[in-house]
């Protein structure tokens, strides 16, 4: 997987060079280059926009401070003085005002929460007491920090407390503090780098979306084909059985974050599905899986077919299997599929799953929460396709409704998410933050619309984006993005209809689309080749907008407000 290098800036009131060094030298995707602002000058760096590092294009910014350095009241609490909660809140608000000045200076701003070295928390029963409890004041300050950052979608707080726990007793390093003003041990910085990198991958749209699971000895204990579903190890008063139920619960929790589950298992399909249906302690049932390949074929081949059926890319998939030989086979055959090492001890399954950082995303949309259900609906839709005769006949039975609305704050988050993660039906595959996309759409000669698709099986939600730029009297389609979930249902044609319709109402005579090839967007080229648009040269398509572009009769178009 190729990824562009990301440029970052670190601002801190402590010596943060060690974090910069680990970020730069970490070989994981994305590669990072980062500068460090002058040490100890958090407020000055945030307030002075003439500083040289603000003149460069920044993909990310880290503002990491020590509470005793930026909150006077917290420093007082550390020295044993009583502090009023209001004063802490006011100082946090003031700090956040400065912090938020930087939100337009980088695509994403990370704000690690505040911690203090554990030796400060040794005040026993006073730790959580009102006005003097250091832990209590720290909690209040962090909560207020989070409240201030709520609603700023590109400002992401990260949990430093988690890094402290992961780094254990070496989280803080008094030697490094007194030698070089580095408060943290290197294990804490390494834990932080893992989270920063996972967050940056998520922001780049590289979070994994699909978990493909083995069944025997993975989702349950034992071989169902040998012992029958009644005898598999799952639940009950058994340490492994309980752990496997918890593992399934964690997998189900992932589906609520938009991760899709599927099965690749060497088994008799009827026997395996019977276990899923009938075992009383199964947490995951058939409807929790977007698809399955349960047969005796090569698992790598099954994964290829599953991923294709779900219209996802190999780099979306994670494969979990207890069998090291199967893991090695999939790693070797499908290097883009992430195959984590898996413990032999089933009691470690839930923990191992929760430790994976490949699912991190900056936000969870309504569509994310409903994705699993959408795939189940798609399966029923496909079943119907098999029952009706022609494609036209099938389309008519679907009652497709395409709703169009201009890009606005209410649909920005999902639109940007779609823009940044869609690979196949994507004309230009450009990636932009919410903020940058809104700014682009706000330019007078630009228009962006979001498309919602539903049919009689359900609502697929916001699944399309059309972005147009007017130049030289022609309307150029810059973004033509459609989720693979609704591809092939004439929504593509409906989007072109909207583009041409708008051009006609704006007296623009031609609509253009320049296709930029990537490793994954050939489906987009295939669509444009048969779209009826005239091909010019290698990658340009054009429509004479003195002519209407037809809307397929199976599609009902509902337009909110189309700005002309």
């Amino acid at each position: 997987m190729m990824s562009k290098q990301m440029n970052g800036l670190l601002i801190s009131d402590f010596n943060i060079e060690n974090l910069a060094a680990y970020l730069k030298n970490d070989s994981g995707i994305p590669q990072v280059n980062c500068e460090v602002a002058p040490y100890g000058q958090v407020a000055q760096s945030l307030l002075d926009d003439s500083l040289p590092f603000w003149q460069t294009s920044l993909d990310f910014l880290v503002v990491w401070s020590r509470p005793e350095a930026v909150l006077e009241s917290f420093a007082q609490a550390l020295s044993g003085l009583a502090v009023e909660a209001n004063k802490v809140r006011d100082e946090v608000d003031e700090y956040c005002r400065k912090l938020l000045l930087s939100k337009n200076r980088a695509s994403v701003v990370f704000a690690p929460t505040w911690v203090v070295p554990t030796f400060h928390l040794g005040h026993g029963m006073l730790d959580l007491a009102a006005e003097v409890g250091v832990s209590r004041i720290l909690m209040q300050a962090n909560l207020r920090l989070l409240e201030n950052l709520d609603g700023h979608s590109n400002v992401v707080p990260l949990n430093t407390g988690k890094w402290v726990e992961l780094a254990g007793e070496k989280a803080f390093n008094p030697r490094l503090w007194y030698l070089g003003k580095v408060p943290f041990g290197n294990n804490l910085f390494k834990a932080a780098v893992r989270d920063f990198k996972a967050a940056l991958r998520g922001i780049q749209g590289r979070a994994r979306k699909l978990v493909i699971l083995d069944l025997d000895e993975t989702l349950w204990g034992g071989i169902v084909g040998d012992v029958g579903w009644q005898e598999i190890v799952l639940g009950g008063h058994d340490p492994e059985g309980e752990a496997l139920v918890d593992f399934q619960r964690e997998l189900q929790a992932l589906t609520r974050r938009g991760i899709v589950l599927a099965i690749a298992s060497k088994n008799e399909e009827s026997i395996a599905l019977e276990a899923i249906d009938k075992h009383p302690e199964m947490v995951l049932r058939k409807e929790d899986f977007a698809g399955w390949k349960i047969n005796w074929k090569d698992k790598a081949q099954n994964i290829v077919e599953l991923v294709a059926e779900l219209n996802l890319g190999m780099d979306s998939a994670v494969f979990i299997d207890d069998n090291p030989a199967e893991r090695a086979r999939v790693r070797e055959a499908l290097p883009d599929v992430f195959v984590p090492e898996w413990p032999v001890d089933k009691r470690l399954y839930p923990h191992t799953l929760c430790s994976l950082d490949c699912f991190d995303k900056p936000a969870i949309s309504v569509e994310d929460r409903q994705r699993q259900q959408m795939y189940a609906t798609e399966r029923r839709r496909t079943e119907l396709k098999g029952k009706v005769g022609s494609l036209e006949e099938w389309l008519r039975t679907l009652d497709i409704v395409v709703k169009v609305e201009p890009l606005e704050i209410s649909n920005l988050s999902r639109s940007a998410q779609l823009l940044n993660k869609t690979n196949q039906m994507n004309l230009s595959t450009r990636r932009m933050t919410e903020q940058d996309y809104m700014a682009w759409a706000g330019v007078e000669t630009h228009r962006v619309w979001s498309f919602y698709v539903s049919d009689r099986f359900g609502d697929s939600g916001l699944t399309g984006i059309l972005g147009i730029e007017v130049a030289d009297g022609r309307a150029k389609i810059v973004d033509f993005v459609l989720s693979c979930r609704v591809m092939g249902r004439k929504v593509e044609e409906a989007m072109l209809h909207v583009a041409v319709d708008w051009a006609r109402s704006s007296r623009i005579k031609e609509v253009l689309a320049d296709y930029t090839a990537t490793a994954k967007n050939k489906p987009c080229l295939d669509f444009f080749l048969k779209s009826g648009l005239k091909k010019h040269g290698e990658n340009r398509f054009a429509w004479d907008s003195t002519q209407e572009y037809p809307l397929h009769p199976a599609v009902r178009l509902v337009q909110k407000t189309i700005n002309t």
């Binding site: 010596n15 060079e17 060690n18 680990y22 730069k24 030298n25 030697r175 490094l176 030698l179 290197n186």
Partner: protein
């Protein structure tokens, strides 16, 4: 029980420290696991923060491996025969001498 202090054990500890430090250093600035590796000497690839990190790592590992507290930062720029921080080899000699003295004073 006293832990035996040998130059080999100290070199092993120094090489472990170099390994950890190398995770922070760029490809071109990696320190070699060799007694000839220069630290505070002309031609060193170590910058001041790299040196600070190395000192902290060595002090920490000394405590873990020999159960003895070592404060190397006090010895930087100390007058005497040669600079203990010139190379990994000179540093190993210096640490061996200090740790043996410390052990003897405790026994």
């Amino acid at each position: 029980m006293q832990i035996e202090i040998t130059r080999e054990k100290i070199l092993k500890m120094l090489y472990e420290s170099i390994n950890e430090l190398n995770e922070q250093l760029g490809k071109d600035n990696q320190l070699a696991q060799s007694s000839q590796t220069k630290l505070l000497a002309p031609g060193t690839s170590l910058d001041s923060l790299g040196f600070v990190n190395l000192v902290a790592l060595i002090e920490e590992k000394c405590q873990e491996n020999f159960n003895l507290n070592l404060i190397l930062s006090n010895s930087i720029g100390m007058p005497g025969d040669g600079d203990p921080f010139e190379t990994i080899g000179t540093l190993a000699n210096y640490i061996e001498q200090i740790l043996i003295q410390r052990q003897e004073s405790l026994s």
